[in-house]
Structure formats: structure tokens, C-alpha cells
Symmetry: D2
Subunit: 334 residues, 4 copies
């Protein structure tokens, strides 16, 4: 008998990815999966790829249904987690994939999100120094954002080491379409997206606050771009150097023991395709020959390390399981 976990908001892309990961996890067992409009449908009809749970019917998202689990994954739209979480007993562990509990400063919340700030939970990025222990001791963990985790892992060690100027960071990051969710919107139609790159929320993306809080950056320009692929984030982080340290060496030292963060051999650059389906982040860094800027490129799968995989990694730590249980280090390519 495995540890019983619930997935609230199982009909979306992050929810579907959680179901896939739970099905393949040696220690977890699906207690219940819930939805809103899709409650009453089988998982087989909502997520045709998740054959393991094909006959499981989605329940309605209600606290009573979820409270029966040992751990609940919340994969709800931003702003909806707080209400559900408030009705779950402290004994039920929660990993929230939404943004509700990530930010410490209510002013940051108000700047980028509608509604009131719900509070702050332990930030679920185990690769940050000391964070793994905090997660292990928590019953409430706020998962990272997808752009955020991909950028923070590229940037935080450089700022911590005094190698990159926290006051001058420029990020341009491309995301696959699954990052925008499964709601039917015209600008996300295949016809509009295939063959096209489209920037959005230029100069004002909500992950900026989260990236600054967790990476130590103080001033950051970020431009997100929607790319014609279903998954993957490629973040280019251009930071002004302080001193002449080799940025690649700093990153390699920081992540030497991390199973999911891979600083590639010199000269080999990350590509999102190589991270597909895995919980890995691939990194490479160099100094720009014209400007001298540090350029770090970071690739991940937005639905795994950027959402469901990160959530399972956090759950593993909270539950005392091996941190890599049920998570792939290897991507699927081509």
C-alpha cells in the first residue's frame, strides 16, 4: 500500500502530468482526482494518454474528498488554492502548484496578481541552499513557477557568489504552449501558434517578483515569448559580471551533487527537447565576447521541473521518500 495522494484540478495540463507521474511512482497511490467542469468524466476521456487511470472518474473538487489523502497536490487556477487549503486539516500535507503562497511580500503579490495576498508557504525549490531541509520540515509547500525555476537555477549561484550584478539582469525566456494552460483561447489555437513566435506580458510578467525573491536579483527585465512547441522553457539570462570568475565553474560547483540540475560540458548548450518529460534542468554559461556579459542558458520541461515533477520532488522530501523517486532524470528525444 502506497502513500495516498490526491490531485485537485486534475483536468488541466499540470494535473494530467501529476497523474502520469503518480501512476509511475513506486511509493504513491492515487486516492482521488478532482475537477470542476470535468467532474464525472473518466481520466481516460480527459487525458487519453494516462491509460493507468483510464477508468477512474474525476470527483468534484471539495475539501471533504481531499481530506482523506495523506498529501494533496493543488493544481488549481491562480487564486483558488487558498480557499481549498483553508479547509484541509494540518495533518494533510499540501503542495500547491499555483502562485498563491509563493511570495513573501504582499506588495509583490498586489503588483502582479489580482485579489488579496493569501500568505506565504515554504518555497518549494530544494536546490536552493538550505531549502531542502525547510521543505522536509513543512506540511505546506508552495511550488515554483515554471519561468521562475528555470531562471532562478541559472542565476542564484552567480549572485550568491558575487559573480553577477544583482542590479542588472536581462532575461528573455521562451515557453511551450502548455505553460499557458488548457483553457480554450483563440491566441493559443494551433493555427495561431505553429510557425510563429509571440511575446506577451512584455516588461510586466508576474514571475519577476518570484525570481527576484529567490535568486537575489534586485533589478530584472524579463520578456516571455510563446514558442511553437508543446512543452519546454528556454531562459537566456544575461547578467553584468562582477569580477572575472568563470560563470560555468560557479554553476558546476553549486550543482555538483544535484541529481536534477546538469551543467553541461563546455561548449554544449541546453536545448529544451533534451529535457522533455524529465525533471532535469540543463545549464550552460559563457562570457559574451563583445559585451563581456555573463550569458547563462537554462532549459527545462515546464510541466515537470516547472510544475508536476517539482511538486513530486517536494512531496518526496516532505514524505521522507528518496528525492528522485518516480522522477525521470533522462528526457525523451527526439
Amino acid at each position: 500500500m502506497g502513500i495516498r495522494v490526491a490531485v485537485a484540478g486534475a483536468s488541466g495540463y499540470a494535473g494530467g502530468e501529476l497523474l502520469r507521474l503518480i501512476a509511475g511512482h513506486p511509493n504513491l497511490e492515487l486516492a482521488v482526482a478532482t475537477g470542476f467542469a470535468q467532474a464525472g468524466s473518466t481520466i481516460g476521456s480527459v487525458h487519453p494518454h494516462v491509460r493507468s487511470f483510464r477508468d477512474v472518474v474525476l470527483a468534484k473538487t471539495e475539501p471533504a474528498v481531499l481530506a482523506d489523502a495523506d498529501l494533496v497536490f493543488l493544481a488549481l487556477p491562480h487564486g483558488e488554492s487558498a480557499a481549498v487549503a483553508a479547509q484541509l486539516p494540518e495533518s494533510v500535507r499540501i503542495v500547491d502548484i499555483g502562485a498563491d503562497f509563493r511570495l513573501k511580500d504582499p506588495a509583490d503579490w498586489t503588483k502582479y496578481y489580482p485579489g488579496e495576498h493569501a500568505g506565504t508557504w515554504t518555497y518549494g525549490l530544494p536546490e536552493l541552499p538550505g531549502q531542502r531541509e525547510l521543505i522536509a520540515a513543512s506540511t505546506r509547500v508552495a511550488n515554483t513557477g515554471c519561468y521562475a525555476v528555470t531562471t532562478i537555477l541559472a542565476l542564484a549561484p552567480l549572485i550568491a557568489a558575487g559573480v553577477a550584478d544583482p542590479d542588472d539582469v536581462v532575461v528573455v525566456a521562451s515557453s511551450g504552449t502548455s505553460g499557458a494552460g488548457r483553457a480554450a483561447k483563440q491566441h493559443l489555437l494551433a493555427s495561431e501558434v505553429m510557425g510563429s513566435m509571440t511575446p506577451y506580458k512584455v516588461g510586466a510578467h508576474q514571475h519577476v517578483a518570484e525570481i527576484k525573491q529567490a535568486s537575489g536579483a534586485r533589478t530584472l527585465s524579463m520578456t516571455p515569448v510563446l514558442a511553437p512547441m508543446p512543452r519546454g522553457i528556454l531562459a537566456t539570462v544575461a547578467a553584468r559580471p562582477l569580477g572575472a570568475a568563470d560563470p560555468r565553474a560557479v554553476l558546476a560547483a553549486a550543482y555538483a551533487d544535484e541529481p536534477f540540475v546538469h551543467v553541461l560540458p563546455e561548449g554544449q548548450w541546453p536545448q529544451t527537447g533534451a529535457t522533455f518529460g524529465s525533471n532535469s534542468v540543463h545549464l550552460q554559461a559563457t562570457a559574451d565576447i563583445d559585451s563581456g556579459r555573463i550569458v547563462v542558458v537554462s532549459a527545462s520541461d515546464n510541466l515537470v521541473k516547472g510544475a508536476a515533477g517539482q511538486a513530486v520532488q517536494n512531496a518526496n522530501i516532505m514524505l521522507g521518500l528518496p528525492e528522485t523517486a518516480g522522477l525521470a532524470i533522462d528526457g525523451i528525444a527526439p
Copy 2:
């Protein structure tokens, strides 16, 4: 200590997929991986997604290197397996992913392939009646072709049940580009493929002989089409009905106990995306309202059930392991 397996021809797409599956397999251990032009390179440079073996160096493809393994996967270009296999002792089990040993009739070989017919090994499609037992008793197994397995599973039970006319079958099947291999060719460039559907080998594809041999079809028209996606095969099989049996019911009965063959609920049609990364085949069937023809649609991942996954499934059977070990039933989507 796991069972020691070797991969010959590890630098191609099927080889890379074998490496990924072996890395995640609970019972197998990589003894050696070999290549030709890429011998001497690390797996990390050749397959950036296979992080588990990133520091393993590809050896040269030589029998002495391979003979040390308990089982050898041959992922070589068509026509090159026979020479290597001839130099391996009988005690070393072999699964050949190439076409060399699939066909029984030398005349079929000569009609579709260059060079001489190498011989016939046990046909590695466990879902055919009685075939699982033959595979278990064999030390030499010829893996299926990717179009072949996708089509045969859709067709064989209908012909066996006397429901479809073996003398009048029309197949149109689309394949992702990885089915065409990793050699650099102009017509496989992303620029040429993205946004375009392109038929090839129209009226004369080499899998026709294999499909006929294993499905019982006697006359078959097949049109293969290159589709703008990296993986996946979608086969549409239109067969003249004999009698009025429900084709879906026949398929559902045939595969009721198969872990990897899924006849979808009525009205739900297969899509290749739902099989991505899995060893599953999804099937659906109906009767055409204008012509009365049986139309079966079959979807699979050409690199898994169509190549490396099928090979691991065969190896599992040959080695007395659980048939599903190391293989995913669930796809990765979106």
C-alpha cells in the same frame, strides 16, 4: 546486479531510445553501447537527453565487445545485422531491430530490399496468438517494423475472425520523422518538413510484405506519409467487411488482456500524441456510413512500440522478466 545488455548502433534514434529505456529498467544494466562514426564520443554528447549514461563512451561496433553481454540489441541500418549476428555465440541472446530477419519468404525480401535474404528469426510481436511463447523460447528475435506493428495490430484479429476481407485492404499511414532515421538528408530538414505532409514510396513500401505475412492480408495497398512531428504513427486501415460483425468488439476481445494494446471506448479515436514515449498502441474501429468499409485507426510511438520498446518487451519475455518491466503504458502529453 542486473542482466547485462549491449546496444549496437547506439548513436541513432532507436539506439538512443534503447539507452533511455535501459537506464530506467529495473532489471537491465548497460554493458556496452557501440557506434560507428560516433565511436569514442560520450553518450552525453550524442544523446544530450540521456543524462544517466552521460559519461559512457561509445565503443566501436565489434562482435568481441558485444559478446560479453547477456543480450544484444542490434539497432543497425537494414542489412548490417546479419554480419554482426553471425559472429555472436548462441548463448548471447539477440533482438534485431532491423529488417534483416523478419521475412520468411526470400522472394518477399528480394522484392523490397537490396542484397541477399539473411534468414528468418522468431517474429517479435508478442500480441499475435501463440507468438509470446515462441519468443520466450528463442535466443534470436526479429523486432517488428514500425508501420508494420501499428498496422498488424489493427488488422490481424479482423482477418483471423473472418470479419475483414484479406484481399482488399487499403492502408494510409503517417509517420513522424524519427522513423526515417538520424542521417542528415535534405528532405528531412526541419525547414522542409515543418508545415508539410509528404507521401513517399507510394505503392511500394517495404513493410507491405511484413504486414501481409503477420496479419493474414493477401492484397494490400499502403501509402506512407511523412508528417511534421518527431514521433508517432497513425495508421488508417480500411478493409472490406465480411459479414456484419462489429469490428471494435472483435478488437476489444482480442486485446482484453494485453497491457500495451488499448481499444478505446466507442467514439474516442486514437491520436499519436497520447502514445508519445509509451509502449502502447491505441485502437478504434467503425463502419463507414457511405461505403460500409471497416475503418480501423491505430496509433503508436514509432520509437517505442515501433522499435526500442518492442525490443525491450521481447527481451523481457526472452529473459523471463515481467513483460512490462521498464516500459511505460502511459504516454506523455501534451
Copy 3:
């Protein structure tokens, strides 16, 4: 001063393509473009690519607005053309891109479409024998369906010449996503479509009736497949041969003088990418070496020859303009 044309339903994909073609047409001038929900918006915001009309505001779709034009293109949802057409004077020429007036037999309409049969207009496929003259003499023309035109051009000459059996035709046709329109639907999201092939309306597509009516086929099985590309239709037509005539020669003779129908040199197969943006259809045919079936492959751009381009071609004929005016013979690739 050009001939004044109106586009009703200008906010969809066919409407946008009409705007683009009108902007580049030497003889036509845009009188008005109308929409429903988008009325009041500029064309520049609805169709960012149509810079020529960027400041033109979409009017509401009302007969009074349209009646002022010399010719009206109706690019409305199926079933909505009849009501608008009924309120336009006979002196205003109309080309209807919808299905409303294509079918002759009300029973065919009822079998495949909801609502009542609106009537029958001149069928707008000039490459059919004698049809060009009928179109020239008409003030009301029903444009072809996209699957229909691509299939009919491949099939009609073979049936007319007694070379293909009209009672045994199997068609499998893939379409880019723009053929499904611009309404936001989950199954058309980029995340769902990219990397996947998905059949739909298997055994019961509404274009079957239109294809039979115009090609002479009497029994036809058609399977449509949604392909991961924005535009393009690739139809594979497998017909039982009558006699031993070379199907390619029959097609080449039929279209020798047609500017938009291209029978490719022997051995060169059509690809949808080569027709992108053009009003051309590319054809090739062979005899299957196993079954002897005639296999014709036909490629077109569903928004041009399958919709807006065909409409302009019909308009050119109706207005006495050069038939190719404003239409590209060359595609855009890669």
C-alpha cells in the same frame, strides 16, 4: 477604380485570406468587411498580417451594408449564408464559401448537415468540364469544400475516363488546423495538436456527399485526419482500376491547360508545403505494386484553393476578369 467587393464574415481564417487576396488583386477594391463579435474592431487587430487594411473597421454583417458592393463573398459559418443571401438583390453577385448551396439533393444535405436544405447554386469548381462557362453565366456560386476540391480534382478525370471504379474509392486526407476554423476549442489548442495526428468524423464526413456529386464516385470511404500544421490538405485517393490505363497520363491530359492544377513529373510526389499560399493543386498518381490499386495523391492549401483563392477564381470568372488575376500559382516554401 476597381470592382467593389464585400467580405461578410471577415474575422475568420477564410475571411482573413480573402482580405489578403483582395489587397493584392489588381482589379478588386474592398467595399466593406463585416463581422459579428468583432464588428467595430480594426482589421489590423483581428488579422495582424493584413497591413494593407490595418485601419479599416469591421462593420456589422447586415444586408444593407453588403448590398452596396458589386460582389459579395460570404465567409459565414455553415447554415448562415442563406439568410443573408436572401436579402441581397440579384444584381449583387455572390460567392458563398460555406456549404449551404453546394449540394443538389436535399437528402444529401440532411444526411450530413443540421437544419433545412437552402437550395443549390452553380458549383464553383471551374476545372470540371463545362463548369467554367456555367460559373461565368451565374450571379450565385457555391464555392467548393476544401477536402472536396482536393479530392475531386484527383478523382473526377479517372472516373470520367472509365479508368477508376466509381464504386470502390477509399480516401484518407489530412488537413491543417485552419480548416477547423478560428473558434477557440480545446482540441484545436496548439498544445493538443503539435506533435500529434488525430482522426475525426471517421466514416461520416460531410464532404463525402459533395465529392460523390462532383466526381462521379458512387461509393466512397473517407477518413479525415487533423495534422500538426496550420494549412494544407493532403488527400490520398485509392481507387480500384478499370482496365490498365496509366492514371497519371489521364490526369495530365485532363489538366494540360489549367493554370492551377499541376500534374507533377513522374516520381515527384506532392507535398502540402509546396502549395502554401498558392491557388495551385499538385497531383501525382501511380499503380500500387501489391494491390494494383490506383493511388492518387493531391495537395492544396485549404485556405486558398480550398476556400478564399477558389472564391476569387470564381469571382474573376463571374466578373469577366482574367481567371488568374490576384492569385499565386507559386507557393511559399519552406
Copy 4:
């Protein structure tokens, strides 16, 4: 009788695009098209989409063949133009699509390209102040690079107006695969590219020198990324502001009279798909709310404004034709 133009290097993507544009140009006539390996092949077999010239046979690239034309487009690999150009009489106008003659400073050439610096021709970017007149007076024009033109148009007016700091510019730019040419290389295979974003030449791209020379930037970090689409460039230019001027207003004023450069309405961001097939560049700019940086996003079609279209625009100017002749302002979408 049109003006007689030649295309040297007609078998590549830029060459094919030139052929398409020439076929649709009201004043130009194709004198000859040449190739290397493909000499002797028909254009119909090399570029199946260019039906207008389907029976034209590619000649061998030899000066004698080209010298007969009024104007020669050189679409040769970088480094090969100089040798051909040297053998053409001054009376034959030349537009070189390659990089050979773009740079003024031999040191810049040596820093980024192999071989010796060939010299400097008039820089073929008519939208730069005063440049149109220089082009009109030249018989030798060096076309812009594709990244270069997309970035320069975004940046030059801001630096010229003293609004952006020339010493601190960060560019991240994504390109479709056709920008990498048509030679068969493994990393350009559809299997490798689809579903993946891949950076390359990070910190050291050869267009940096060209961008600095033409935009006035003095220090520039540029990261190019290969995107999974056949065409299109999306450049994100993040520049440190000098003063508080509205960058959008500066750009709008600079390009008010330009037919091919479109500053979009406030809030509407460029997308590469909207420029497909057109000679247009779409621009938008804002100030980043966290960092205050100016962020300009610029989109173009790399084969049109980034190569063949720009070349035709330059030729039009050199030949005294209307500058927009034969060039589309409207893109093709979706």
C-alpha cells in the same frame, strides 16, 4: 520585356525565394538561374513550389552566364561572392545576399568570419537615414543579414535619438530554421528541431559586428536561438534608457513613411507568423516596469526582409522601379 535578372545560387532557400519573387514581379524577368551540385536540374525539381519556372534548368554558376543579365542576385555561401563579383563588368548591377561586402572594418570581418575581407559595398538597408539615396546611386549593394536587419530597425532610431544607451544593449533573437540554410546537417533535422528551442553561437554571433556598425550600438550582447518554425525572426532588444522618452513614439516617428516597417498600435506585440512571406518588419516597444529598460520586439521573415525581399527592394531602388514592386506588405497567416 522586363529587366533581365540572374540568380546565382538558386538552389538554396534564399535563391528559391528570389525565384518566387521574380516570378511575381511586374518588371523583372528571369535571365538565368544557376547552381553548383544542382546545375542541370529543373527548378521544378529543386523548388517544387516555384511552378512558374518549373521547366527552367539551373545553369552552372559561371561569370559568363551571369554577365548577360542587367542585375545579378548573388545568393552564395558566405565567402564565395567576391570571386564571382570580380569577374562581372561594372555595368551589371549586383546585389549580394551574402556577408562578404557588408562590413567596413576588416578587423570586424576577421573577428567573426574565416578568410580575408573582400571589401565594402553600399549597405543595403534603405530604411536607414540617407541610405536609400546611396543605394540608388550604387551598382554594388551588400544586402543585410537577417538577424541584423531585424535588430537594426528596432535599435537604430533609439540610439540616433539619444534615447537608448549605445553601450548597453542585450539582444536575444530566435530564428526559424531556413536561416541556417539548406545543407543537410544533423542538428537541422526535423526530428532534432521540432518541439525544441536551441541556442547557438552564444556570445559570439557574426551579425554583432554588422548590427553595431549600422545601428550605432557600441557594446552588444546577442544570443541567437534556433526555433521550431521554418521562417521568421523575433528579436528582443533590451536597451538601457537615456532620459524618459517614449521609445514607441520614437520608432513610430522614424518609420511613419516607410511602407515595410510597421510600428504596431500600443499594446499589440509583433509575432513572426504575421510577417510570413511579406517584406514587412513589425515593431513594438515599452519600458520594463521593474528595470526601466527599453524593450523593443521586432519580427520579420528571414527569407524576405532578411534576404530575398530586401534584395528585391534594393534592386528596385537601384533600377529606378517603384520600391515596393513585386513585394508583399501583407503576410500570410495563419
